[in-house]
């Protein structure tokens, strides 16, 4: 039970986009409260190996899909802190974690799309664009975000989704400039692709590398680089015509 609880907490955090060292830290803290001594955990973005020391067996869980859901990170962190402070018993903590696994705490899609559209417009002005280009960036950013989410749900290939999304952003920007709704194509595209930028991966990769988790740091860095290439390739395709 204690081991399952630690593994579930670790898996939930990793799936929601926490840093590797934080996952290991949380798991060993939870294990300490359950009088498991000499525990070792090895966390990578694709799987967690947890060894609770003899007489228990070492366990492994596979992490199949990763999303960005910072609220779940905060919730799991809260459960682990309460378990350490003896506010929760092990059973309570485990049932809480099972609850967290099931609930969907994501913001509704329309709100995410609206946020992406607003972000695109804001970045356009922050990068010294003109106010006249804001509507084009707003539309391109919002549509690009919808396309990325939908295609990711359909194909489960993240890089392809990002490629198609940035391709459409490029096309919308190009179209807007052609029919006179925009002036500066470069600024429109830069602003609109900002919601797709792998910010979480970059931050986590750096922090993992600095904490000495080279495997996770490098693999997250590779994921971020591939995402950046996918976005770049999508936009580049528009220019090559």
């Amino acid at each position: 039970m204690a081991i399952d609880c630690c593994l579930l907490a670790g898996r939930l955090m990793m799936q929601s986009g926490a840093e590797t060292y934080r996952v290991e830290d949380t798991m060993s803290r939870m294990a300490d409260t359950q009088e498991l001594s000499a525990t070792h955990s090895f966390v990578t973005p694709t799987g967690i190996i947890f060894s609770p020391g003899s007489p228990h067996h070492t366990k492994l869980v596979r992490i199949k899909n990763r999303t960005t859901d910072l609220e779940k990170v905060a919730l799991v962190n809260d459960v682990s802190r309460k378990l350490s402070a003896d506010e929760y018993t092990l059973e309570e903590a485990y049932s809480k974690l099972l609850e967290i696994e099931k609930v969907d705490v994501m913001f509704p899609l329309w709100l995410q799309v609206l946020a992406a559209a607003v972000v695109s417009g804001c970045f356009l002005i922050m990068f010294e664009g003109l106010w006249i280009d804001v509507p084009a960036a707003f539309v391109a950013g919002g549509i690009g975000y919808i396309i990325v989410t939908r295609i990711h749900e359909l194909t489960r290939v993240k890089f392809f989704a990002e490629f198609v999304g940035s391709l459409f952003i490029g096309l919308i920007g190009f179209g807007a400039v052609q029919i006179g709704l925009g002036t500066d194509l470069d600024k429109i595209i830069i602003g609109s692709v900002m919601p797709l930028v792998p910010g979480l991966l970059i931050t986590n990769a750096v922090r993992d590398l600095m904490a000495g988790h080279f495997m996770s740091g490098l693999s997250k860095g590779a994921e971020a680089t591939l995402t950046a290439f996918a976005i770049g390739a999508g936009v580049a395709l528009v220019f090559s015509f």
């Binding site: 609220e71 804001c122 830069i190 970059i202 931050t203 986590n204 922090r207 600095m210």
Partner: protein
């Protein structure tokens, strides 16, 4: 102009908070952290005309504020730092590098790509320096507290 920049960077960072599904209570603070980082970046970029140093300072400010807020609310620090870092990401330079590659202008592409690489490195260093500094400061205060007790 500064007020507009502040408001827009606040909105952009809070918007990223929504995209990353930050807890609702924290959205305001996400926006605040992002605004601080962007204003520091912009002020120093105008003062010194060096985006690398400005990104370092911006990322440093973001990480310091994120750590302080994380200590205050007892939540993981990435909740605040992720949305705050995004405005500093060298999207424009990476875009220009890619565009020059498409136009077979490799010389300019390499100079833009190197710029983007340097800025990313500066952001990383800013994050790490702030983390180390916060750790040293808080360890010292805890140490003192223990001694007086």
């Amino acid at each position: 102009m500064w007020i507009i920049q502040g408001v827009l960077s606040f909105l952009a960072s809070a918007g990223f908070g929504i995209i990353f599904n930050t807890p609702k209570k924290m959205l305001f603070y996400c926006g605040f952290v992002g605004m601080t980082g962007w204003l520091v970046y912009r002020a120093f970029n105008i003062y010194s005309d060096d985006p690398v140093q400005a990104s370092f300072l911006g990322a440093f400010a973001v990480a310091v504020f994120a750590h302080l807020l994380a200590k205050k609310f007892r939540t993981p620090m990435i909740i605040f730092s992720v949305a705050g870092i995004i405005p500093l990401v060298p999207g424009g330079m990476a875009y220009n590098a890619m565009r020059h590659i498409v136009e077979n202008d490799y010389l300019n592409a390499i100079s833009f790509a190197t710029g983007a690489f340097m800025v990313s490195g500066a952001i990383a260093m800013g994050l790490v320096f702030a983390e180390v500094m916060i750790q040293i400061i808080f360890r010292n205060t805890f140490g003192r507290r223990n001694k007086t007790e």
